[in-house]
Symmetry: C2
Subunit: 262 residues, 2 copies
Amino acid sequence: MQEHEFSRIERAPAYRLVYDAIEREILSGKLRVGDPLPAELQLAEQFGVNRSTVREGIRLLEQSGLVERDGGKRPRISLPHYLDLASSASRALILHSVTFRELWEASMVLEPAIAESAARHIDVNGLAELNNNINAMEANVQRFEAGAEANTDEFVQLDRGFHEILAKFGGNRVLALAHEPVTSLFIPTGQIILQRLKTYRRVLDAHRHIYNCLKDKDAAKARTWMHRHMDDFRRAYELTELAWDAPLDAVSLGITQAAPHR
Amino acid sequence: MQEHEFSRIERAPAYRLVYDAIEREILSGKLRVGDPLPAELQLAEQFGVNRSTVREGIRLLEQSGLVERDGGKRPRISLPHYLDLASSASRALILHSVTFRELWEASMVLEPAIAESAARHIDVNGLAELNNNINAMEANVQRFEAGAEANTDEFVQLDRGFHEILAKFGGNRVLALAHEPVTSLFIPTGQIILQRLKTYRRVLDAHRHIYNCLKDKDAAKARTWMHRHMDDFRRAYELTELAWDAPLDAVSLGITQAAPHR
DNA sequence: AACAGTCCGTTTGTCGGACAGTTTCGAAAA
DNA sequence: TTTTCGAAACTGTCCGACAAACGGACTGTT
């Protein structure tokens, strides 16, 4: 019976308008990255709102990574970096209770592509970083093999570091961005697997092989090795009898039980 | 002369502590999704800080997607959704001036994988949505072919919609999350290409083929067709003589010139 | 019984002012 | 020219206040 559909009336609060206004200035380049943000009082005056309101708007900018605050100094305009976004992405994935299957399948797509790309684009600096990472890991493994208490924390961090260096020097920031939140979610799982199966040497060997492929700029082989490396991870996961389709948050918190057998 | 190195003392501002505290409550499940956030005054009292401080903390939560505000109602706990994250990710990519090459290479990895996964997981609802999308696009194309003024806006939105439905029903939320920011960045480029080359029919045909593969649950073929579809996009991009390695923001703003030939 | 109107306590959005602790920056001193 | 020092500017936090909007209860009308 209604003749006309009214579109929803929306009235954004002032602090959000402040956010939008400043965001626009940044995106359009009028406020340049690295510049300090204008003083709160000054902004309040320009926008014709109270300083408290401006401050709330700035908090939005802060969380979205467009403004960076260091101590009590003047906040500065900044580029949101991968890591900021990645951590919120990881959190979102956990809250949506993604499964290990989803995570692994995505990695199965991303990691080999990154390895392949890295073989084409990596430079001497990247290779040097990888080399350091591998050496550190070798030291770790030797300690473990000598019977030392296994410090899986450090090992897993090195493992993650290896893959991150690859992403960093892979010459593709889109892939790197997509990759980042996934790696951080693998950490708790990696810890569990390593503690139970002690596959340190096997991981290290895989990294070595990949490193050699990169050094030889052999993209196809790099992809293959990475593929194998990731598949190893899946097999290890299955061996630990963790649930393939269980939501991940349980694993993250270390409260996962063995998968119900059938 | 110093005997002990003190680690840098860091004093997070109170509003950030408020943010951290509430975030923890949400992640640990004490505050459940959908619940309204406690009143500001109440929080201020509990934390022992001023209401203004609490408000600033809530702004951080708001921007990170953990709190959703609808009109003047009580803000509610919510799950950060893909789209929120995706838009900040897109913005970050633009600000980092990623190139079309990076974008396309990433899509070349993600889209076929998503198509393959969708062939396995999509249900009747997903197929129905795809069908609607294709029909709408068919109507569009027929109008264009009848000589109507080309409304590339709607067409490009439909194109994007097709790929998003695939991601949504692909059964892998990690891939979907990674995919999202990329598609939105393709929009301006897609507009330019379509306007110049008028490849409407070709895009529609590709979508039809992919749809049929999904209906037949033929994952391998779905991947192949998507691969071809994306490669078409690259060829079209080259035909328009847009710069392959130019940062993307120029394209987004529509101020890109033809690539300098050599 | 369904619905419009009214009233009220609660909560958010915004404002103004205030003050302590830092940082910034230019002037004075070495 | 470089260093030192002090005032000005700025941020973080607090307090108090008020309008507008919401949620809900209660009432009267149809």
